[in-house]
Structure formats: C-alpha cells, structure tokens
Amino acid sequence: MMTTETQTELREDELLIEPAEPTQPRTRPRTRRPDPGTTETGPKRLVRSATVSDRFNLLGAGAAAIAVSTLLFFFLTPMTGYVGWIVVSFLGFLLIYALLVSLSGNRQEVSDRILTCLLVSAGVILIFALVFVVAFALLRGLPALAHLNFFTETMKLAGPLDPLSMGGILHAIVGTLIQISIALAITIPLGIATAVFLNEIGGKFARFVRTISDAMTALPSIVAGLFVYAAVIQFITHERSGFAASLAISVMMLPIIIRASDVVLRLVPGNLREASYALGTTRWRTVWHVVLPTARSGLVTAVILGTARGIGETSPVLLTSGVTAVLNFNPFEGPMISLPLQVFDFVKSPEPNMIARGFGTAATLVLLVLLLFLIARAIGGRAPGVLSSRQQRSAAMRSAADASRITLRHMQREAAAHPIEYAVETPVEDAPVAPDPGETKPVADASPETAPEGAPDPPVRRRILPPRLDWGRLRHSLTTGRADPETPVDPDPDPDPDSDSDPQTEERSS
C-alpha cells in the first residue's frame, strides 16, 4: 500500500509540473458571428466617435460665441477687459450650443450636452489653474536656477542687492534634507508599527488609536508648530533648532503615514494571512514574511507621499527652525532654515533679486516634490501583492527551487523509511525495454545510501531516482502559468521505465 501512495504522490508532483490539459494553439476565435444569411448588412456604424453634425454644433457654437462677444466688447457696448470677454464668450457658447442641439434633439439631449460641456470646462479650468500655479513658480524661478552657484553657495555673504550670480540656497537644501531625514527616522518606524498594530493586533485600544490618529490629521499645521515652540523650545532647548523643526514636521507627517499605511495593510488579502497561520506560523513571522512584503510597494508610496507633504510644510517650520543665512549641519544647535521657509523669507523682501531667488527656491522645492511623487508613482502604481515582471520571475525561480528541494527531500525520506518497498525483483535500471518480470538478477550498482546494511539480499534493490523534472519547462510553466507550447505533452502517461515500475511487480512486492 505504501508504494501505491508514494506512486500517486509522485504522479501529483508530475501533474503539478505538467498541466493535465495540453495547450493547443487556438485556431478559432471563441465567439463567432452568426451567419448573416440573406439579410443585407450595411456599413459598420461608429458608435464612439461624434457625428459630423455634433462636431458642427460644437465648432459653430464656439465661433458664433467668440464673434458675438467680440462684437459686444469692441463695437457695441462699453464693456472691457479680457476676463469679461472670456466669461461672455463662454456663456454665449453655452447658449448657442443649447440652441443648436435643441434643433435636432429633445430636452434631455440638450441638458446632457450642456452639462457635459460644464463638466469638461470645470476639469479644464482646474487642471489649467493647477498646472499654471506650478509652471508659474518654475518659470519665474528660471533666472535664479540658471546660475549654478544657486545650488552651491549660501546666503552668508550675499545681501539683498547682490546679483543672482552671488549667493545660493545650499544651506536651505541641507537644512531640508537633515530635517526631513530626522522626521523620517521618527515617523517611518512609529507610523508603520502603529499601522501594523491597528491591522494585525486590533482590539479596543487599536480602535482608540485609530480614532486618535484620525483626529491628528485635523491638527492645523500652525498649531503643531505652536505646540513644539511652546513645549520644546520654550521649556527645554530655549533656542530654535533643526531638531525642533523636525519634531514639528513629524507631528504633521505621522498621521498621514499611519493613515496611508493602514489603508495599504488593510488591502492585503486575508487569505494570505490565514494561509500563513494555517501553516503554523507565529504572528510576527506572518507580519514580517507575509503582510509587510505583500504591502511593500504601497508602504513605500505611503512614506514617499508623507515625505512630499512634510517637505512642503512651511508653517510649523516657521515657528520652530529659525531663519539663518549660514550653513548649519548641526540640527541640535542654532537655527537651520529649510526650503519652504527660505521661500517665505526671500519673498518678504521688496528687492527683485530676492524675489527671483524666492521663486528659484520654490522651483527647487516643486521639482523635489515632483521627483518624490514620480518615484512614488513608479513604485506604488500596483495593488498589494501584484508583482513586477522581474519580481514575478524571481518568485518563480524561488518557487521552483523550493519545489525541487521539497520533492528531493520527500524522496529521500521515503527511501530511508521504506527501503524494502522500493525493492523490485527485476532490475529496471535504465533499461530501454522493460525486462521480463520473472527474471531475478542482482545488480552491482544498486545505490548504497538507499540500502541499509542488513537488508535482505534476494530482492534486488532498485536505485531511487528523483522524479523527472524538466527545469526549463518547469520555469516556463511557473512564469507563464501554462505549459510550454513548443514541447507537446506526451500523451502516454508512462513512457519512462525509470520513473515507474510495473504495477504487477509492485503489487507483488507489497
């Protein structure tokens, strides 16, 4: 009986490697058109694109509106100003468009078209305004950014009247990097540990913590700054420092990171956790080896988005870090300015050069945030557990290695435990043709490790062979999820005399 069990297990192993159904290249499409018969089919209708009259309505309404408002503004009425012109044009466009649509459609169609126009214009206004805000900072910042010394010098020796070729914001860049690093060193472990606590441990206290951290997101940034100013600077350090600023930033970033990580961890499928527990894993190992790796990309995104928010915080830094023009590497002593505060400080001056520097600093800040955001996008575009192709390949390799290791160990154990069960009366060693079952002949090269010393002699021991594994095929099937189409699966289930012995002999031996 043992042998048959082993046999079926082996078969299953093989089945895992070779899918039962041979995949044939599909020759026919899955769906077929019904036979048209004698019915005439007209030309294919385009359901998605707008018709000519739709386009004419749009273009005509636009042209008419522009003409009307130009007429009103420049010839007929005393109205002036380009803002007014745009507003009148827009209203005129809506009116004329509604009129044109109502010529062919009913009331529903008119309201549909008009509201679609309104939705599109809301989107256009918003996107235009937001892009314009960023582009405005970047464009006005160009004169300052063009000078390389802007990034390599500090404002120590440069006054408000000095040209842009003197002085720079190196001190602010260094300050921002130091402050955000300290803040990250505080918030990443604390934030992710809290999120893990909320998700994996739970309980009454966790609900309380979640409520509190939700409340913390409502904390106005200036109040966080005021807290650090009153509690840390006035009570303990008695001077503004980079460390105090990073504490204030941490207070602002912590709830953001907790919330984002909490959401990401909640998305980790519960059956992964259950599978891990079912295998007898302890809690922390489940978290460490299953939950956190699954959510890794999401967690990185959460941290980066928190960083982007933290870098841009001005008001808490305004109260805590102090303004300086010198490079300061020590976060615990002396004021340490950061980029947003430097922007704020620059544009307070009426001098055009200082304002240009302010825009240059703002542009640097925006570019930094954009960079962080792009990195976050590149890492975190995927849902938890969805792997990149590279990760998929490495996971498949690991899985294949595991499979072979497990199979080999299984074989060895079986061999060590039941040396007799594998004994057959016939040597089938590498024989191309199965020999006569009745024949008994000792074989010289029976492997010694599988045969215990005192084993009875007459039944000839057969060498235990690992299951037939075709590595290339295995890898292929693991990476693509189907068998290699180029190597057709053998229809004969048992072509190799090595891997199986004759069922008759087995029955006899057991």
């Binding site: 679609t116 809301a122 918003l126 540990a193 200036i222 005021l226 302890t282 809690r283 870098i311 704020f344």
Partner: protein, 370 residues
C-alpha cells in the same frame, strides 16, 4: 472583542437553564436521542472551568504584541501631549478672558483685551469663499474623471490631481501674491460695481461711500479664498471621484438601457450614490481650508475688525494670527495664541470627524475581507 471567558460563562448559564428544563419536562427526556447528563452537581467548585481556545503566544509573539502596543501608545501619547499641553496652557488665557474671548475683536493680550471674534470671522469667510470656488470645480472634475474621460486620459487626470495635492502651500502663496492679486482685481471691481447692492459684495469705506480704487481690493478675503480653494480642490476631487466610481455598475447600465442620457444616468444613479462622498469631501476640504496658514498669511493684510465685505482689503485668520504674533508674544500672549489655536483645532476636529463618518457610512464595507 469580548473575552471568550465571559462568553463561555454566559453560554454556561444558558446551557444550564436548558438542561434543567429538559430534565424536568415530563417524558421529554426519553424522547431525546442522546442522553442528557446532569451537570456536575450544583456546587460551582466541582464544575470544570470553561476552556479557553486561545493558545499562549510564543516569546517573539509577545514581543511583537508589546512593540505594537508601544507604537500605538506612543502615537496616542504624542497626540494627547499636544492636546493636553495646548489646553493646559490655553486655560490661563481663557480664565482671564472668559466668554468675552469669543466676542472681542481686539487682540492685545498685554492689556487683557483680546478675543477671536474677528479672526474667527475672517477664517470662516475665507473658507466659505474657498468652498464656493472649490466645490463646483471639484464636483465637475470628479464627474469628468469618473464618468466622461476615456481610459488613458482618465488615469492621467487622476495622477495630475493627486500630484497637485502634494504641491507645497508656499508655492500657491507665491502664485496668489505675484499673479492672482493683480489679475483678479478687475474681476473684484466688476463684481462690486454690478452686485454691490448685495451687502457682502459691496466695497465701501467707513461712511458707506463706494470705493472704486484698485488699492481697496488688494489682499482681500476673496483673493485668499481663491488660493485656498485651489489648494483644497485636489483633496475634494479625489474623495468625490472615489465615491462616484463606487456607484454600482448594474444601476448605471440599467439607467442607460432604459434610454437615459449620460447626464440622466449621472443624475439618477451616480449623484445619489455619491452623496456621502460629496458632503464628506466638501467637509474634508473645509477642514483643510480653515487650517491653512502660509498662503493666507502671505496674501491678506491683517486687521482686527469684523469685515463683512469679502472683496475689500483686509481680513484675518486664526492661523495667520498665530504666525503673525507668536514671535513677540509674552508668556501670557502665547497662552492666548494657544487658546486661539485650540479653538481652531476643535473646529477642524469636529468637521473632520463628521466628514469621515459621512464618507465611511457611504462606503460599502465589502472591499476587503480581513
């Protein structure tokens, strides 16, 4: 999470009652398929303790739990420290000012004459202007993204809006000061000229004479409100978009199959399903607008009188007040500022909680299983 012991005890009592009934009912005992054994006597000593099914955590697990609790505890401690410290310090100022803290418009803690009526009014007026600008934009953009925009353009828009949420507020402030300020003044003048009969839009001096000079329109709550609106729109848009995208596909297709236009479908399916998202997103944005500091501080010229005319120069906000006055404040002055900050915090807290509960209620909980 209830203690399984409690549950066990409860179940035990119920079982006992049942068994007693079965035992006392005439004839019933013989009909039972399984024999009912009496519980182990009446005395509770002899009865076996209900078994707990929880395994004892291993050493590393206990450490893990401990770390988790420590992290949660630290977070709570930080938060409570902020709250307790602020209230403790603010108590000083509030005990001096009493209820007049909410009615006084002046801010001079040195003479014990201070209150947040004017700054709170300014904060709220800026936030209202911001909402008037932001909500239509956010609603339209959210509907555009979730209903109208085709595939790739849609994900591009989503990325762009998310990106805008991360742009630092000081950049918006720069834009407001150096661009919007001058280009929006003609609009303000136009509004005050034609809609000046509405008191809010009038721009008059102390004697009620209408002002038309451009300098009367700079640094107003209106301009600050527009800038704040742009800052909160991305937040509102993403909350609303998420709510809209959860409107069930079956109802959408049902509406379209009945011959509805796209707007008809939006009106009858998407908007009712997304109502929670609209309200919640608006309020979340409102919370952010109330707490916004640096952009407001850069734009407005601070005053300490209640100014109903949103287009007129001069406004104030609680956060701008703190940023303005913290430096030269005495200890008592700082306490007064903290009282103002605490009031602001309470307002944003209430708004945030209401908003998130509305959003949570509108969301179906079937997304994750764990």
């Amino acid at each position: 999470m209830t203690d399984p012991r409690d549950e066990g005890a409860e179940r035990d009592a119920t079982t006992e009652l049942l068994v007693e009934r079965v035992l006392t009912a005439p004839g019933l005992r013989d009909e039972l398929a399984t024999e009912v054994l009496p519980l182990a006597g009446g005395d509770p000593e002899a009865r076996p303790e209900p078994r707990t099914l929880r395994s004892r955590p291993s050493g590393p697990d206990r450490l893990f739990r401990l770390t988790g609790f420590a992290a949660g505890g630290t977070t709570v401690a930080i938060m409570l420290a902020v709250g307790v410290f602020l209230s403790f310090n603010a108590a000083d100022a509030i005990s001096v000012a009493g209820l007049s803290f909410f009615t006084t418009t002046e801010w001079s803690p040195e003479t014990q004459d201070f209150g947040i009526a004017a700054v709170l009014f300014g904060t709220v007026s800026i936030a209202i202007v911001a909402m008037c600008v932001a909500v239509p934009l956010a609603l339209g953009t959210a509907l555009l993204i979730s209903e109208v925009a085709p595939g790739r353009f849609k994900s591009f828009l989503i990325t762009l809006v998310d990106l805008m949420a991360a742009v630092p507020s000081v950049v918006f402030g720069l834009w407001g000061v150096f661009f919007l300020q001058e280009s929006v003044i003609p609009v303000s003048q136009w509004i005050s000229k034609y809609f000046g009969w509405i008191p809010v839009f009038a721009v008059t001096d102390a004697d009620g004479v209408r002002l038309t000079d451009a300098s009367a329109f700079t640094s107003s709550a209106f301009i600050a409100g527009i800038v704040v609106a742009l800052m909160v729109v991305p937040t509102q848009t993403s909350v609303m978009r998420e709510a809209f995208s959860q409107a069930p596909i079956g109802e959408r297709e049902g509406a379209l199959a009945l011959g509805s236009t796209r707007w008809g479908m939006i009106q009858t399916v998407v908007l009712p399903f997304g109502r929670g998202g609209i309200i919640g997103g608006t309020m979340l944005g409102l919370g952010r607008a109330l707490g916004e500091t640096i952009a407001v501080y850069m734009i407005i010229s601070p005053i300490f009188v209640i100014n109903w005319q949103v287009l007129k120069t001069g406004s104030n906000s609680v956060s701008a007040l703190i940023a303005l006055r913290y430096g030269e404040a005495s200890e008592f002055g700082l306490s007064a500022l903290m009282a103002a900050g605490l009031v602001l915090f309470f307002i944003t807290l209430v708004i945030n909680f209401v908003a998130s509960s509305i959003v949570a209620r509108s969301r179906s909980g079937a997304q994750s299983e764990a």
